[in-house]
């Protein structure tokens, strides 16, 4: 493959991934509002378009045409830099997410993953937690006590749960004997088992950490509306305000759900019967059925997150960190111990 073709393929991948993620991210706001409305027995947005289908566009226009306000004695550079520092790392995670099996297009074998580096999963966690700087800087730069308290809480939560999520992910890594996201999925297909069946403890710990890192209920203490009036975003207005929830609640949830799918739910593989094989109702789609399965799994995880968000109350900040260090971390370490005994028994 010539270097020009390689460059073009990479450029196409980047454009497709960014377009899909930011586009879907915007439309997930509508999904969230609809799901929340039906959980609370009301119709939700109904006016703009059929069943509110154009609502995200209307919201976008409203946010973009609003006046851009800079709080007095806020730091102009950091105030704006914080938005970039929140958005970029969250979307960088998708660089190591494999969306499907290798496909054959226009005479090229293309892996639907931007960069199949051999340490992909570490990159995902590193980028995922880089987002903390956006939050911390926004809290400091807006020169407001609410924002600062929110940012400090968020930083505390991320520091605690970053440790937990990494130790939880070590289980599947030990079973797959690889740090590459692509190879982890291939290992699950070869061993004919989704790692959720072998790693139930670490799966639960991972889901908890996912909720905590993305600031979803029950871990949304950093933007608690009742006491902190949305925390670190309180001094932002217009689209700048709109970007923070977009990044935190949608892009990050999507990226961590994708990583969770890769680690525990077999990535693009169809329904699994442990140690027997895979059942694929979409067999007629050929290699493209993998993409459908990946989308289905991420959708289910996203709906699970929404379901928890709109039904549970929130924890106190000390309860959150206590759970992280005294319950989740020991559980994850215990899981690693068990996995060390299971891993040699698996073939492959």
């Amino acid at each position: 493959m010539s270097i020009v073709a390689l460059g073009i393929i990479i450029a196409i991948k980047v454009v497709v991934i960014l377009a899909i993620i930011l586009g879907i991210g915007a439309y997930l706001t509508l999904v969230e509002r609809k799901v929340a409305a039906h959980i609370q027995r009301r119709p939700g947005p109904m006016v703009v378009g059929w069943h509110g289908l154009l609502q995200p566009l209307a919201d976008g226009i409203k946010l973009l045409t609003k006046e851009d306000i800079l709080p007095s004695s806020a730091n102009f550079l950091l105030y704006n830099l914080a938005i970039v520092m929140a958005l970029v790392p969250a979307s960088l995670v998708f660089a190591v997410v494999p969306f499907g099996p290798e496909i054959h297009v226009f005479g090229y074998d293309i892996k639907p993953i931007l960069t199949d580096v051999n340490i992909g999963i570490i990159m995902a966690f590193a980028f995922g937690s880089l987002a903390v700087y956006g939050v911390a800087l926004s809290g400091w730069a807006s020169n407001s006590k609410y924002a600062l308290i929110g940012a400090l809480r968020k930083a505390g939560i991320i520091i605690s749960y970053e440790v937990v999520i990494t130790f939880a992910a070590l289980g599947p890594i030990m079973l797959a004997k690889s740090l590459s996201t692509y190879d982890i999925v291939m290992a699950q297909i070869h061993q004919k088992v989704w790692y959720i069946f072998l790693q139930p403890i670490s799966f639960v710990v991972f889901v908890f950490a996912l909720l905590a890192e993305t600031g979803r209920v029950p871990f949304d203490i950093q933007e608690a509306e009742a006491e902190l009036v949305t925390g670190f975003t309180v001094e932002y207005g217009g689209m700048k305000f709109g970007l923070f929830p977009l990044v935190e609640w949608y892009v990050e949830v999507l990226s961590l759900s994708s990583i969770l799918t890769v680690l525990y739910l077999g990535g693009w593989s169809p329904i699994n019967i442990p140690f027997v094989g895979f059942v694929d109702p979409f067999f007629f789609l050929g290699p493209w059925s993998g993409f459908i399965w990946f989308i289905i799994k991420v959708t289910i995880l996203f709906l699970l997150v929404l379901w928890l968000h709109w039904t549970l109350p929130r924890y106190r900040i000390d309860q959150i960190t206590t759970i992280a260090w005294k319950v989740m971390l020991p559980l994850a370490l215990f899981n690693i111990l068990i996995t060390a005994f299971i891993a040699p028994l698996l073939r492959g």
Binding site: V117, A126, I158, I159, E162, T166, L179
Partner: protein, 173 residues
């Protein structure tokens, strides 16, 4: 060719950011420059083909360690912390000769062509087993003693930190 361009790019970024660290007066800018330097250094690791080291640099230094600086600096009354008002500039000047000696040493080592593995042992292992396994093999064979010593040191410092940070009713009876 491409990797050389990447190396010079990340190298110059890290030098510029390093200059920013020592010259900026606002502590929060200092941390941001430091962040840039650390990310550029991880880029150097990547361009040299040491992906695992680069990723660990990102995860450990950029995320885990630098975030504590941000956390502390945002929480203190930073207007009192401007470097100009501090009087420890003398120390900075005083350590300059020692830093210079370190650089001269690094230069001599680079010129004399001392390498980590003369017979390209590490290169062969990397080719056969990949990045993570190479570091694992090296860490648990050649450098095992140093590795264990470091672990014990970290354990001790952790216990010390917990002891210092523990809040307890003081009873002097």
């Amino acid at each position: 060719m491409l990797s050389q361009i990447a190396f010079y790019l990340f190298g110059s970024i890290s030098i510029i950011c390093g200059l920013g660290v020592v010259s900026a007066s606002n502590p929060i800018y200092v941390v941001l420059w430091l962040l840039g330097a650390l990310i550029a250094i991880s880029g150097i690791f990547f361009s040299a083909g040491a992906e695992l080291l680069g990723a660990l640099q990102l995860m450990v230094y950029v995320v885990a360690i630098a975030v504590f600086y941000i956390l502390i600096i945002t929480a203190v009354p930073w207007r009192k912390l401007h470097k100009n008002e501090q009087h420890n500039r003398l120390i900075g000047v005083a350590v300059l000769p020692f830093v210079a000696i370190l650089y001269v040493e690094a230069f001599i080592v680079a010129l004399s062509g001392v390498s980590l593995s003369k017979n390209k042992i590490i290169e062969t292992i990397t080719k056969n087993y990949g990045n993570a396994s190479t570091i694992g093999i090296k860490l648990f064979s050649t450098y095992f003693w140093a590795f264990e010593l470091m672990s014990v040191l970290l354990l001790i410092s952790m216990i010390g930190a917990i002891l210092l940070g523990r809040k307890e009713e003081k009873t002097y009876d």
